[in-house]
């Protein structure tokens, strides 16, 4: 049901596309026949993912390397990761921190990792994220309402390896 509500598209109530109209109709039906408004579901679902995230631990092999309180894990999955983009400006701000570990998708070549390090003068470690991080990434996206695949995430852990702060950039 959560997905049904998520798929509703109030922007296109009169859309010529039958799929969009159908989603809208289902969502309307649900709103009016279950006695609830869709936003209740939406907030509930969002809070659930964010709540679960607080109990998810980051892999030990990452957090052990951080060593300091200003350590963080940065997931670099964004497409707009260039020096002139807002994401790039954020990268310049954090790049001097040695305790940050950067995770990049597995298809990054060693040359691309070096290009990344060179461009932003990154002091921290850059590693391939591996498959384990994909589930975590999906949950972060749902919690942060990120629909596209092009965002980067800054995760600050608490008590060693639990996620405390999530920043999307």
């Amino acid at each position: 049901m959560y997905y049904l509500i998520q798929k509703r598209d109030t922007k296109y109530p009169n859309s010529p596309h039958p799929e969009k109209r159908a989603d809208e109709t289902k969502a309307y039906y649900h709103r009016n026949h279950c006695g609830m408004v869709d936003t209740d579901f939406f907030i509930g679902a969002k809070l659930y993912d964010c709540f679960i995230l607080r109990f998810i631990s980051l892999p030990r092999e990452l957090t052990d390397d951080m060593g300091s309180e200003d350590g963080a894990v940065v997931l670099l999955y964004g497409k707009n990761l260039c020096g002139t983009c807002p994401a790039g400006k954020f990268m310049y701000r954090i790049s001097g921190n040695r305790n940050i570990i950067y995770l990049v998708p597995d298809d990054y070549s060693s040359h691309e990792i070096e290009n990344l390090r060179y461009t932003f003068d990154m002091s921290g470690k850059i590693v391939h994220s591996g498959r384990e991080m994909e589930n975590l990434l999906k949950r972060i996206k749902r919690c942060k309402k990120v629909k596209n695949s092009g965002a980067n995430y800054y995760l600050q852990p608490r008590n060693g390896n639990k996620i405390n702060t999530i920043e999307v950039f």
Partner: protein, 359 residues
């Protein structure tokens, strides 16, 4: 006596422009405009063209919004026959995301998009790709390497060189030597945005040298492939008062008095030239259409050919345009030992390609 005078007048009027031209040393050649017709085929239409290029008999268009490169075959000098589309939207291998520039070398097409550089053969087969993270101003693919004018305020050099595999090899073109610029002079502009404005340039290559042409200040430099500067000069004098005023205004805003970006939120685009291409011994410069004095677009297209070895003017080409035609990209080909120019226009009816032939 009077009758003889009247007979000689038309002859005199005909000879006068030729005499004046030879006295000034300027060889202005008039251009004849022909509209290229596009064959009505599925997939042949482009919504937004960011760049064009002519390679052999093929005409390539960078369709920025549809994330692809369109390849046309030029037929009978005035028809574009759609052959194929290269690349497709997406993020995987062979996919493109907002492509902006192309460069062809040795039958291989290099495409710069939002993520990096992708390589295709001219039949559209994907070869390889690598990511680049620095913002870019221009790039050229030559000698199996990518020469990339990178926006990176933390680095001293402007041009970065990468192998086909993406390995960063070396860098050259000291920014301070190109334009001695103080980042604090422009208020409210990030150093990266300021660099993008100041070092706005075109990179060209003939396989032996790299040519850097600055759009804002008209400075040109020639480098050997390993990055040693062999020649430098300026191209402002080749153009008229309009371009001199633009260069002067750019100096005032970005080098002398300063510029408040927070007030206007726009970066003025006072460019000396809009696009440049290298073919044979000449570098062709497409003059920018903006008339600085009258604050409107000129109804005139002007192309200057300069010698790539000395940066001296060789010839000028001119043609009048209809009022709503706005150009921003062009390409050059040689036909019967003469240059012909393919110019991309943005008109009220959509994009059009015109061929300009010396008359």
């Amino acid at each position: 006596m009077d009758k003889r005078k009247t007979n000689l007048l038309p002859v005199f009027l005909l000879i006068l422009p030729i005499v004046l031209n030879s006295v000034q040393g300027d060889k202005t050649i008039l251009l004849r405009q022909t509209y290229m017709t596009l064959e009505e085929k599925e997939g042949a239409f482009f919504k937004n063209a960011a760049d064009i290029d002519v390679y052999d008999r093929y005409f390539l268009v960078v369709d920025n919004i549809d994330n692809r490169i369109l390849k046309f075959l030029m037929i009978n000098n005035n028809r574009l026959d759609f052959q194929r589309s290269i690349g497709r939207p997406g993020q995987g291998p062979g996919d493109l995301e907002l492509p902006i520039r192309i460069s062809t070398w040795n039958e291989i097409l290099a495409v710069q998009d939002q993520r990096g550089i992708s390589f295709f053969d001219l039949d559209g087969n994907f070869k390889s790709r690598f990511r680049i993270f620095a913002g870019s101003i221009s790039f050229v693919f030559s000698d199996n390497k990518i020469y990339y004018a990178a926006i990176n305020p933390t680095k001293l050099d402007l041009i970065e060189v990468h192998s086909r595999e993406g390995q960063r090899l070396y860098s050259f073109a000291d920014k301070k030597e190109l334009v001695d610029f103080n980042y604090n002079i422009v208020k409210g502009m990030s150093p990266a945005t300021a660099e993008m404005a100041i070092f706005n340039c075109e990179l060209l290559s003939d396989g032996q040298y790299i040519y850097l042409l600055n759009r804002r200040f008209g400075k040109v430099a020639k480098f050997s492939m390993p990055g040693e500067k062999v020649l430098e000069g300026t191209i402002i004098e080749l153009f008229g008062k309009n371009e001199l005023s633009k260069a002067k205004e750019n100096r005032r805003l970005f080098l002398e008095e300063g510029y408040d970006f927070l007030e206007t939120r726009t970066v003025p685009q006072y460019y000396i030239f809009r696009d440049a291409k290298l073919i044979g011994d000449n570098i062709y410069l497409l003059r920018d259409q903006w008339n600085f004095a009258e604050k409107k677009l000129d109804s005139l297209i002007e192309i200057k050919a300069i010698d790539k070895g000395s940066f001296e003017l060789k010839s000028s080409y001119q043609a009048s345009l209809s009022n709503d035609e706005r150009f921003f990209s062009f390409s050059v080909a040689i036909e019967k030992d003469r240059p012909v120019f393919y110019v991309l226009f943005d008109t009220k009816e959509g994009y059009k390609v015109s061929k300009f032939t010396p008359s």
